[in-house]
Every structure is written in C-alpha cells, then in structure tokens.
C-alpha cells in the first residue's frame, strides 16, 4: 500500500492491472461532451517541475481539472528557486499552502522519494533523472491494451529501441511490460544500453533488422541530441542508418505491429515522419490515454480512500 506513486515497483503486477482497469472509467469521462466529474472537488494538486516538460505537465493538469481538483503550477523559471531557495524549502512552502498531491519532475533520481519524506501530501513521480517515470509506463500499457483489445500481455514481443541507458521512460515502461508478462528486447548500440542487465529480465540485440518481422510492438526512444557530445554514437545519421525506423524498415514489420514513442520525437532521426504519422503509429493515442491514466492515479491517491495497490 502506498500513498505515493514513485516507482512502478509501488504497483506490482496486480497494481498495474488494477490501474489499467480503473483507467477505463476515466477514458469514458474524457470522451464525454463535458469531460469533467466532481470527484476531487476541494483537492489541490501542485505541479513542481524542475525540468522542462510540455506533455507531462499539461497532461497532469488536464487530468486534475477533469476531476475538478484545483491546480497550482510551479515553474522553476519564475520562482524563488532563481533566488537560491532549496528544494526542501520550496516543497515545504508549497505544502504550507495546503496541497493534497504534488507532481514532481526533477533531474535528480530519487528527488520525489526525498520529498515524500518531507511533507504529508501524496507525491507523484513525473520523471526523476534517469530513474523512473511511472505514469508513462501506465499510459503505454493502457494504449497497448486498448489498441490490441486485450487485457493480457503474456508473450507479447516488444522491441525497445534507442537510448535505454539514459531513459527513465525505458526503465519504467520495460519494468511494467515485463511485470505483465511481455517479452522485451532492448535494441541499440552497446553504448546506449544498460551496463548491466541485472534486474531488467530482457533480451538484448545490437541489431534492429532481424527483429522487424517478428516483433509485435516497436517502442522507439528519443535520441537525446546532447548525448552526441558524449560520443556514444558516431553521428545522428549513422544512428538512423542502423536503428532509425525508416519507412523501408517499417515496411518489413508485420501488418499488425504497432509503433510507439514517448515524445518528443526527433522526426528523421529515430523515426521517419511518415512512420510517425502512419496507421501503425499509436503515438497520439499515448498522449490521449495519458490523461485518463493520470486521472486514475490522482483518483486512487486522493479520492478512492487514499492509496494505490
């Protein structure tokens, strides 16, 4: 039982299944003409983002508003952090205003966990360093579940392609996929894959091409251009040549294979524009489902009786 959502580990397989099941009720709400319910009236949700973000922050705020919660946004650029305020002081100030949940993104792994120890509000990890991004994992699974019209992931073959080593999305999503029974292969050059596979329970491939005809899902990760400075791969063009999902490579996928990407995309690098916009792509659905999943998380923490899993 947890009052917070800091890691996919807080959920476990049964918790993941429960959240996905619960999300169907919120998908319905988001599809209404007036997509709003009074469930969390009087609750306040604060967004505390120490890193830039578009979709995650807006997604959480939309989710909170559709549940009738009040929202507060803390943007680092216009805050007292610029004056040198510490994380702890900032968090305690927000807590003193009276918040029920704080959605945290921070470049330091473990920051949300620390914050959870300082204040009484429920803490939701919206991305901490290279560690985790649990609501991304939930929305990825919900999107797959809805697209594939199945509730079981047993034996589903997923290729996760790209910079796994530096990706909190990969860490959370792979953990969740493995927990629900999918067979995950991490694909990329050795410099972008984890140094140790201990705990990942995944296969590894340095080649994408052999996997194309047999994989059910291709999950592309963003190539973080700043990594190029670290000389982890020779050039973006070289990366695209070997690992980019070009239209030609997409043509070698099974007809029912689906393509995912957590965003933001580098069109023409890890994914070709026509593939991203093609019928096999469920990238837009990922964003849409993100709202329903975050409503389910907020409801579970603030409405249902106060804990998840």
């Amino acid at each position: 039982m947890s009052r917070h959502l800091l890691s996919v580990d807080d959920l476990g397989r049964s918790g993941i299944d429960e959240m996905l099941e619960l999300s169907s009720s919120f998908v319905e709400v988001t599809q209404r003409e007036i997509p709003k319910v009074p469930a969390l009236r009087g609750k306040t949700v604060a967004s505390l983002f120490y890193e830039e973000s578009t979709r995650t922050r807006l997604s959480f705020e939309t989710a909170a508003k559709r549940l009738s919660a009040d929202t507060m946004t803390f943007a680092i650029s216009s805050s007292s952090v610029k004056k040198g305020e510490s994380l702890r002081d900032t968090v305690q100030t927000i807590a003193a205003l009276g918040v029920d949940a704080v959605v945290v993104r921070h470049r330091a792994a473990g920051a949300p966990h620390r914050i959870a120890g300082w204040i009484d509000a429920s803490i939701i990890n919206a991305g901490d360093g290279r560690h985790e991004h649990p609501t991304q994992a939930l929305l990825d699974l919900l999107t797959l579940r809805r697209r594939l019209a199945t509730t079981t992931f047993d034996g589903l073959r997923v290729a996760v392609v790209g910079d796994v080593r530096h990706s909190r999305v990969a860490r959370s999503t792979v953990k969740a996929l493995v927990a629900v029974g999918a067979e995950v292969t991490l694909v990329g050059p050795p410099t972008l894959l984890p140094e140790s596979l201990a705990g990942w329970n995944c296969a590894v491939s340095h080649e994408l091409d052999p996997l194309l005809p047999e994989t059910d899902v291709v999950y592309l990760l963003r190539i973080q251009s700043e990594r190029q400075d670290e000389a982890l791969f020779p050039s973006l063009r070289e990366y695209t040549t070997r690992y980019g999902l070009t239209a030609e490579r997409a043509g070698r996928l099974k007809p029912d294979t689906v393509i995912m990407h957590p965003g933001p995309m580098n069109r023409g690098v890890e994914i070709a524009a026509e593939v991203a916009d093609g019928p096999a792509s469920i990238i837009t659905e990922q964003v849409t489902n993100g709202v329903a999943v975050r409503m389910a998380v907020l409801w579970s923490l603030l409405g249902s009786g106060g804990s998840i899993a």
């Binding site: 209404r32 007036i34 319910v37 469930a39 409405g303 249902s304 009786g305």
Partner: protein, 207 residues
C-alpha cells in the same frame, strides 16, 4: 440492443458493506425466490409501460452492478410485451458520491449510455433503495449526460431508512429492515442464482 458493461470485469463480490462491527453476518431470511423475482420483474416492466403510455421514449439506466442486471431483465420483458427495443445504459456514480474520502470508493465500471437522454424518460434502476444517497449521486451523473424529460426510479427492494427526500416510482418489494441488517438481491448474472435475502448480525447483537 447493445449490452453496456459487457466485457467489463466481474462484479465485486458484494455491493453491500461489511458489517460495521467487523463481526460476521448471518443469513436471516430468504424473502423472495427466483419465481417471485421473475413475477416482480414482469409487474414492474408492465408498470413502466403503463405509466409512460408505451416504451417509445423510455431509456433504462442501470446502476452498477446489480442495477444494470435488473435493467437488462426489465428491458427483456418490455420487449416481449411491447415489441419495443428499450435502450439500456450503465451508470457508475462513484465520482458523484457525497462520501468520497470518507470511505474507500472505486468505480465499478465505465458509464455507457447508448443514446442522448435529452427529452427521453429515464428510468434509473437499482437493486436496493436504502439511504437514497446513491440515487442522489445518480441524478447528478444523469444531469451531465443530457436533460431528460423526466427521471423515474425503479428498485427491486425498498428497505426504508431514507436520509434524503427520494422515493421510488416502481418497487419490487417493500421490505422493512433494521438499520444494522443488510438486504442482498442476488441475480443469476452476478451471483449465480436469483433471490432476495436479509442478512444481519447474530440475534443478540441486533440494535
């Protein structure tokens, strides 16, 4: 006719609360058996048609979980007697309850109402009418789905103890109960068999 809620997860074991004292409830009485229940369904279906001069503008909206099963049974009877395919919707009221935060609440399934409710006569359907708070939440939920011409209420059991000014238009069985007791409507679709039972604490504990 579509079947809202089809494919949703199995119902929770019981919609009824655990005994407040944590003790074990005992079966006190079988009030109605399957045949009695069938007769009640038939009568209520006829009453709905009679009161609304047919069923052309009627939409049955069942409250998860057993209310939905009751609504589907009523729709089947109305189709038999009137030849009208009455739309059946499924309604979840969790997000509209007035006790959010006071006790654990989970939605029981997605709300699925297949038609626009504006200018329809909505018959809300539930298994047991008790405090009236669930129906109050349902009225709020319905309001967001359209503006019905009228909303009526059908329940299989009215066990009294109302806490709000709400009454049922169609009642399967009026069943005076003690507050500490528990009325369980059992339906084949959910529970494997039909019947209505009263459960309660062991006799010496009755308040």
């Amino acid at each position: 006719m579509t079947a809202p809620g089809a494919g949703t997860p199995a119902a929770q074991p019981s919609s009824t609360p655990e005994p407040p004292d944590g003790g074990s409830f005992l079966l006190r009485a079988h009030v109605l058996d399957g045949d009695d229940l069938r007769r009640a369904f038939t009568r209520i279906a006829h009453e709905i048609v009679e009161r609304n001069h047919g069923a052309a503008h009627v939409v049955l909206v069942g409250l998860y979980t057993r209310g939905l099963a009751v609504a589907e049974r009523l729709a089947a009877v109305i189709e038999q007697v009137e030849g009208v395919d009455v739309p059946v919707g499924a309604l979840d009221v969790a997000f509209y309850r007035d006790d959010i935060g006071l006790r654990p609440i989970q939605p029981l399934g997605p709300t699925e109402v297949p038609v626009d409710l504006t200018d329809k006569t909505v018959v809300l359907v539930d298994d047991v009418l008790f405090t009236g708070r669930t129906v109050r939440a349902a009225l709020d939920a319905i309001t967001e789905l359209g503006r019905p011409r009228a909303v009526q209420l059908a329940v299989m059991v009215d066990r009294a103890h109302r806490e709000l000014p709400i009454r049922a238009d169609y009642v399967g069985k009026n069943l005076p109960t003690k507050l500490a007791e528990d009325v369980r409507v059992r339906l084949a679709e959910v529970d494997g068999e039909d019947g209505i039972e009263i459960w309660g604490p062991p006799p010496e504990e009755v308040r």
